[in-house]
Symmetry: C2
Subunit: 351 residues, 2 copies
DNA sequence: CTGTTAGCGCTTTCAA
DNA sequence: TTGAAAGCGCTAACAG
């Protein structure tokens, strides 16, 4: 590598001091520099192909202009993460206009929080966005109260850290009401994950809400628990069906889990939606392609990322966000797995 | 924010100089420090919760320990990118053990190369990995020859930049031979994208190779061109079918494009694989779930990322890689869309 | 209008 | 075995 060109070189070439170079190149306001000197500096910089050194700038600026994006997921989860590209893109777009870059750090859930807290302690980044925080990531709370900039994607129970999340309760309620509106009264549910996850218990609660609101008793025998995976959906559905309980519809709080359930239903030759109505959650890309296309709740993935990025920038600017906990609306996407009339058959409507 | 704790504070507290602090904390070899002093320093650091400042370290080390991952894709492409999570994970795993972090930067294809070259010029990063370089990203070549560390995921025609890519030719050949082995002689093809993309023309060439090798004339009338999207597959298949040409199988060089094609075939009530055998490329997660499950060519997404990360680390260590152009093997995943006998029905085999 | 000077926090010769 | 001092490249008070 050729030796690096510094302000010193530019200054020498232009016959001025390093300060002047800095002033000219940064267009420091209030610093009136003669047009002639100015040009000399600019020319010298161009000829020498001078680029300011980011690290040196950070050193003096006291900030890195880097935001850590911590993905608290196991590699397997990451692989199956249909939203990551959108979320990442959202974050990136939100912060790039303010001069920030994204430091991407995948961390398995079983790794100690220390692994990513180092990012903030050692000042690799100005703040961190944590996607999928674990409920025992308590370091976050103390770090935040000590001034660290932290934004959650998802929620951490019993904390008031700045966060962006999907309206899981509302989304689940919407799904359940759709089923109820279609005339179903015996509705089963399979959660997306164990209820230790806030998102899971929220979806379960939304489901319950809707039933109660419509005077339908919640039957615990119709509830099963998924675990993120396709397999867990297969097992849960098998278990639910084999229990002998009667139901005409199922709300499955994860499309991925629903995939497994649908597989099992196919094996048993149970037709959708004729024999059983199925409603999912997430709207993964597959949802529109399985047979029948799955009615589900669409999550605003890009918005999640954008919201987190935007919130972080505000935090970094010392703005006190009026609303540090952002809840994003989700929308019901009606396809054919519930039996509702759909005029835009996915087989024809290509968008 | 509380004032930052520096080596000075630790030194003061331990009653030693900053130098000693640095020696102790970094375990500098050959520096024999009395066990007592050593402990005093360690204690002081712990009590003060001292963390070395990453930026300051970079400043003196002359390297950032950051690797730029540039995603040269439009936002729409990013959204539909099923491989990104795996690739990112691969890169991250490969470099993290060497102390590197990933700087993630999505850049639309129509943005000037300058937008990401700044990363290397201003030394935000020690090197960049470019996923999906544009054929006119020539700055990369000159930058590389001037010592910049660059690794491509994909290929840049007529250059010998270090790169990691999939064996598109071999993969397409494999797909075509599978079809031929099944007895097909009139085989159509829909490309994944215009042939200005190296990957596309490679897949087309692999397809041709296979036919020629088996003495089957290549019929240009059976070739159509996709454009990354589902819609383009729909149109291409429609066009191919309406042309009146006769064929019993189609090789579609992208599962996404194949999705559109399959939609059209369904509309025309053409059964797979009875009426027409279809083979895809990529093995996107959906491939196993559409009806019938799609036979396709699986790409080593994680390996792509890992390979790029590993290559970058070697470059950074000034190792001259014996093989700067890595070509990763792809594998044929036989499902049911081609009519081959499959003992692991996806409806039963849950993995 | 421009230059001198003092750091940012750390590592690392070189002396003591 | 430890400390003084220089310096990474830049910015920004403060003079001149």
């Amino acid at each position: 590598l050729a030796k690096r060109v510094t302000t010193r070189d530019v200054a020498e070439r232009a016959g001025v001091s390093r300060t002047t170079v800095s002033f000219v190149l940064n267009n420091v306001p209030g610093m009136r520099i003669s047009e002639e000197t100015r040009q000399r500096v600019l020319d010298a910089a161009r000829q020498l192909k001078y680029y300011p050194d980011a690290t040196a700038r950070r050193m003096v600026a006291g900030q890195t202009k880097l935001i850590g994006f911590v993905l608290r997921q196991s590699p397997e989860q990451v692989f199956g993460d249909h939203f990551l590209p959108q979320v990442l893109n959202g974050v990136s777009q939100a912060v790039s206009q303010y001069g920030y870059h994204i430091l991407f750090l995948p961390i398995p859930p079983d790794a100690p929080a220390e692994d990513y807290m180092r990012l903030v302690h050692e000042r690799h980044v100005d703040g961190i966005i944590i996607s999928g925080p674990r409920s025992d990531d308590r370091e976050l709370v103390s770090a935040f109260s000590e001034g660290a900039k932290v934004v959650l994607i998802g929620k951490l129970a019993e904390t008031d850290l700045p966060s962006v999340d999907v309206d899981n309760i509302g989304g689940a309620r919407m799904a359940a009401e759709h089923l109820i509106g279609l005339g179903h009264r015996q509705i089963g549910m399979i959660t997306n994950a164990p209820t230790v996850y806030t998102g899971s218990s929220d979806r379960l609660n939304g489901f319950r809400d809707a039933l109660e609101k419509h005077g339908i008793p919640v039957d615990t025998n119709l509830i099963r628990y998924g675990n993120f995976t396709i397999e867990s959906g297969y097992e849960a559905m098998k278990n639910l069906l084999d229990s002998g309980a009667a139901f005409t519809a199922v709300f499955i709080a994860s499309d991925t889990v629903a995939l497994g359930a649908v597989r099992f239903l196919r094996e048993r030759s149970i037709r959708l939606p004729e024999d059983l109505a199925v409603c999912g959650f997430d709207d993964i890309p597959l949802a529109d392609f399985i047979d029948p296309p799955l009615t589900t709740v669409k999550l605003p993935a890009y918005g999640l990322g954008w919201g987190a990025g935007d919130l972080m920038v505000r935090l970094l600017n010392e703005e006190i966000p009026d609303q540090p906990e952002i809840i994003l609306e989700s929308t019901l996407v009606v396809r054919r797995s519930c039996g509702a009339s759909v005029n835009n058959s996915s087989l024809i409507d290509i968008t």
